[in-house]
Amino acid sequence: MLQSARTQGLNLYTYSEVEDVQGFVGNFTVKIRKRARYVNNDCNGCGACWEVCPAYGYNEFNEGLDSRKAIYSAFAQAVPSLAQIDMNRCIKCELCKAACEVDAIDFDQKDEIIELNVGSIAVATGWDEFEPPTGYLGYNKYPNVITQLKLERILAPNGPTLGHLVRPSDGKVPKRILFIQCVGSRDLNMNTYCSSGVCCMISIKNSKLIKQHSPDADITVAYMDMRAAGKDYEEYFTLSRKEGIKYIRTNISRIKEDPNTHNLKIVMQNTLSSGGLKELEFDMVVLSASMVPAKGVESIQKMLKLEMSQDGFFKEFHARLNPIDTKIPGIVLAGVSQGPKSIVESIAQGRAAASSLARLMGKDKYRILLIRAAVEDKEKCAKCGLCELNCPYNAITVSDDGAEIDEILCRGCGTCLANCPSEAITLRYYREPQYEKQIDAILEEI
């Protein structure tokens, strides 16, 4: 992040949103809303403002484990290192303005709309942690049932507890910890996909981390299948078992809480042994929730006219042969926007996406096939708009002059002409009479 902010010729727009994308490969027009921070670029991130700010609230970055002020820095290493004001929380006391030594606070700042002309687009929208329904496995109901992301913040050295493992209910160090795998994934009622073994590896990593902090911790991982597929992953899994982390193959359906101690009682059966049902008690339960597409990908999908896979991630050109490009030339996918994957795979795909675009943009010409749909007889067009509605590439606009097909956006699939009730559209090189002749010739012998 820091390096990209320092690279010349690379413009980084943070705290911004893409609002509109028009055009085609080599010539996209992108409208970006740069949201007002109410702090200008003179800010040096010293933090004097948030020290005096009296308005407290939920800290999204730390999963609500602590609070942040109305004027804040998104997180410690945020790039660029500027403060920003959350206007929903600001009480406009202007104490920050008085505290700021470089006079960077500007309450009159407005959202800025930036229009960029770009040649190609890489979609890297990332992911969010799946939020289990309230009450499911005690989530949001019992204080000591947390998700993996919250545990990450608790274990982080710069987190709200400075890396000390404590449980939310009473701040004590939990000794008996249970990880539950596949929460919300591999489940026909929630997400049917497996999050690519990422949650398995995170559980192994975090349980090893906890073991380092407190060697007497009793850690159990309740799993469906441990998916440690990847270089050195299996060895890592084996190592964690040697360190004494217990793995139980089981399916947990219910968690009960002891209301006095806030400990959690779980009935489980190891499906790999004949031990039968056992009730076990834990101090803390960590739900390994699945990866889901980042919030707001639907609007990006509509703007770019990309296809979605069934799981809600962006659809690639070909699931096996080309997982990087999309069906729209000049738009590529990087990382989890295409599907759940680990850091290793995300880096590989990000680099592949960059080189795919470099190959495209390195040439000064872009060749297209002439197999394109065309409205050859404008008289026939009834301007009904069916073609515009059905075009998967957003290549058709219907106006009062009839349908207009953009020859660069059009990919020659012919869906428009199959839907055209007045037969006004033709597909060059694949015209109706050509097919009719073929069918006639084939069926002549009968």
Binding site: C413, G414, L427, E432, L443
Partner: protein, 44 residues
Amino acid sequence: MAGTIRAQYPATLRPVRINCTGRVTPSLMMRAIGKGADGVVVGA
């Protein structure tokens, strides 16, 4: 389609290559049936 599962098409099947299944119009299918075909398979 049949190729990937190592099945064989019947010898009486006659393929017509079309750019995209979106291009298939009902009139083409009806024409084939009208000319004496027993059926039309649309393979993606």
